[in-house]
């Protein structure tokens, strides 16, 4: 006889069958039947957050670090609306996530019932897809579809809204979890068009000033090995977006650093001057392109992306290739190996000479002998203390950019940040999600005194679930990123970018049962970090008093092009004529 289960039990059983380790959630009326089913088992562990936004960020970061979808469970009404910021965060960065939301019982939907909101309607624009379950016999299949849609093609969050009557413990139906589902309306493309790939390879091999511009798609598509192989085989320079960092090892000489608004001088100049760009799993975001009409004026562009809608959305490309990065790069590698002609060596030598000139201005240099703690210095020291092997999560602001610039990521999935939505409050719950996935690895959250306060309550979750993460608070007593824009564009009118009262984070950490440290001098930075990481089983809040006036450089201001960067120090070499 077939197993008969209630809706609540079906949900939990589906999660087990999917191999889900953790559900991040918060209970409430409409999900009580589900919570009762959770109570009766211990295979799927429930992580009780302190705010539903954090549930989504923790699950999202778990997914970013592991490649497996994150799972969230929230109640109807305020539970669901609190989750929206995190759902949108995952959506913008194409992160696979399953959100299970309770809904009022089917018969009262539409009657403004207690804690009723139109969750499917509210989330529609920020999910890959969503479902409202209308029949308990369809529940298992719907969950399977949700996982399938979230994790294939261009990944993204999928929400399943479940009215309370669907999980009624008194209504049991036969349970069957389908091994596979197919949907006639959803068939993501996997392999690329051979003819297009051939065309791309021809253009690539004829290039004189080539550059590889890779993004988050390489990490999402697990194609870092192929990317490394291709880059090294060609000997071409490579730059990565904020979301792509770690796919290609940063310490490698072919890597020019990040590109875009706060990218390096050499990466942006090389983009601007290039004649061929190979864009791999990157989406020509406005933080990357700068002024579109001045973007890469000399380049033929090849673009590999699984989502046809990413191609020629903002920048018209010459050779579109729709497909998953991994198989497409494999095909490319094969064709290049078999190609009759090889990269243009003399042209490449010239190109690298130019690039190395740009590099020589050392655009990320900063004042190293300051007697105030420089935020960059903290990140550099963190890199050394952790041997470059930590998982780094971040919030949003200047500290995020310093993390990206000075922690030289050499493996994929180690850099966990909100790029597309830029969600302050992401860092701490993200660190908790990562630490649960990798309890034996170092996990640090680089944050700012403004961002950390947006999900500070998660210090309580960190204690309950024993996730000893290190919080690196680059405390500049400003919303530094906002202050920087106000300095540059509003004649230093610092409107509301400063808070009069900032909590004593050491005491706050202690109040939550953790260790707090305040570091005021550069010479104490290294020791504090070492001490903190030596405390393997404690969450440590390191409150670094950093330079209040420090800015992130280089910077491409609004409406400017890649070759119009604002630098900390203007170069004195002959190529400075190219700067505005």
């Amino acid at each position: 006889m077939k197993l008969e289960l209630s809706g609540g039990q079906i949900l939990v059983q589906c999660l087990k069958d999917e191999g889900v380790e953790f559900v991040f959630g918060y209970p409430g009326g409409s999900v009580l039947h589900i919570y009762d089913a959770i109570f009766h088992q211990d295979e799927v562990k429930h992580i009780l957050v302190r705010h539903e936004q954090a549930a989504t960020h923790s699950a999202d970061a778990y997914a970013r670090a592991t490649g497996k979808p994150g799972v969230v469970l929230v109640t109807s009404g305020p539970g669901a609306t609190n989750a929206v910021t995190g759902i949108a965060t995952a959506y913008m960065d194409s992160i696979p996530m399953i959100v299970l939301s309770g809904q009022v019982p089917s018969p009262v939907i539409g009657s403004d019932a207690f804690q009723e909101v139109d969750t499917v309607g509210i989330t529609r624009p920020c999910v890959k897809h969503n479902f409202l379950v209308k029949d308990v016999t369809k529940l298992a299949e719907t969950i399977k579809k949700a996982f399938y849609v979230a994790t294939t093609g261009r990944p993204g969050p999928v929400l399943v809204d479940i009215p309370k009557d669907i999980t009624d413990p008194n209504i049991k139906v036969p349970y069957h979890y389908p091994e596979k589902v197919s949907m006639r309306s959803y068939n993501p493309i996997v392999v690329g068009h051979k003819g297009q790939i051939k065309k791309a390879v021809d253009i690539l091999l004829q290039a004189e000033r080539p550059i590889i511009y890779s993004g988050g798609g390489v990490i999402l598509g697990e194609a870092h090995q192929e990317l490394i192989e291709l880059t090294r085989l060609l000997g071409y320079p490579i730059t990565q977006t904020l979301m792509g960092l770690g796919a290609y090892p940063a310490p490698d000489p072919l890597f020019l650093g990040m590109l875009g608004m706060h990218g390096t001088y050499e990466a942006n100049m090389a983009m601007h001057e290039s004649d061929v760009i190979l864009a791999v799993g990157a989406r020509f975001d406005d933080r990357v392109t700068g002024k579109l009409s001045k973007f890469c004026p000399y380049a033929k562009i090849i673009h590999i992306d699984v989502d046809p809608a990413s191609i020629s959305k903002t920048v018209k490309v010459d050779v579109p290739i729709v497909g998953e990065v991994k198989p497409v790069l494999e095909q490319m590698l094969e064709m290049i190996r078999e190609a009759s002609h090889q990269p243009n060596k003399p042209a490449l030598v010239e190109w690298w000479k130019t690039i190395n000139d740009w590099r020589s201005i050392d655009c990320l240099d900063y004042e190293r002998d300051s007697n105030i703690i420089k935020p960059q210095y903290v990140v550099e020291q963190l890199y050394e203390v952790t041997g470059g092997n930590a998982f780094i999560t971040s919030d949003v602001g200047q500290h995020q950019m310093y993390a990206a610039q000075y922690y030289h990521f050499n493996k994929p999935r180690r850099w966990i940040n909100s790029g597309g939505l830029g969600t302050m409050g992401f860092g701490l719950p993200a660190a908790i999600g990562v630490k649960l996935a990798y309890p034996d690895s170092d996990v640090a959250c680089i944050t700012g005194e403004a961002s950390i306060q947006m999900c500070i309550q998660e210090l309580s979750t960190a204690l309950q679930f024993n996730t000893p993460v290190k919080i690196i608070n680059l405390n500049n007593r400003y919303m530094g990123m906002v202050r920087q824009w106000q300095e540059f564009s509003y004649q230093s009118r610092y409107s509301q970018s400063y808070m009069d009262t900032i909590p004593e984070f050491v005491k706050l950490a202690e109040a939550y049962g953790h260790v707090g440290m305040r570091i005021e001098k550069p010479e104490d930075v290294r020791g504090a970090l070492e001490e903190a990481f030596a405390m393997k089983d404690r969450t440590v809040f390191l409150d670094f008093m950093t330079d209040r006036t420090e800015n992130v450089y280089p910077m491409i201001e609004a409406g400017k092009a890649h070759n119009e960067m604002k630098l900390r120090v203007a170069p004195s070499t002959p190529f400075d004529s190219e700067l505005s």
Partner: protein, 163 residues
């Protein structure tokens, strides 16, 4: 340029709002939208009239295709097609104008489907510009009501939009 996009979409609740929401969220222009179930009751067919330059139309079709519920679509304007719109018009009539109105209806191959001493309801199908021309043939005071379905369309030849 004006484009007519025909869409086969899963006949699910919410499918229509996904399409409508896409257009408002991305700021695409939507001139008309018609939708009805097909002979296969699990599918609906939508006809959507929009306009924009080639890049915008390319993005619109890509974004529509990306909607999980969309099974298939074609941009009818890419090859030869036929388009028709249904219009119902209620017109004031007097003893003197009745004959004239009827003649107009005949010229435009419409039908009078309701008659009162003071009004006609006229049914007419055709391309949208023909319907425009008919309406413009009357002065504003004599028109009581105009209801238009928005265009639907089908491609010429043997090929069809189906699964």
């Amino acid at each position: 340029m004006r484009h007519i996009i025909s869409i086969l979409i899963e006949n699910e609740s919410g499918a229509l709002s996904r399409v409508a929401g896409l257009f408002s969220a991305r700021g695409y222009n939507i001139e008309s939208l018609t939708v009805a179930p097909t002979e296969d009751s699990s599918l609906s067919r939508m006809t959507l009239v929009t306009s924009g330059n080639d890049e915008i139309i390319e993005q619109i079709t890509k974004q529509l295709n990306k909607l999980i519920d969309v099974v298939k679509l074609i941009d009818l304007a890419e090859s030869a097609y036929i388009e028709r719109e249904l219009m119902l018009v209620k017109i004031k009539t007097t003893h003197e104008t009745r004959e004239e109105v009827k003649r107009m209806v005949d010229i435009f191959r419409g039908k009078i489907i309701d008659v009162t001493p003071n009004s006609y309801v006229i049914e007419m199908t055709g391309q949208s510009n023909k319907l425009d021309a008919f309406v413009h043939g009357f002065d504003a005071e004599s028109i009581i009501e105009v209801v238009r379905s928005g265009p639907t369309g089908i491609s010429r030849g043997e090929k069809g939009l189906h699964l």
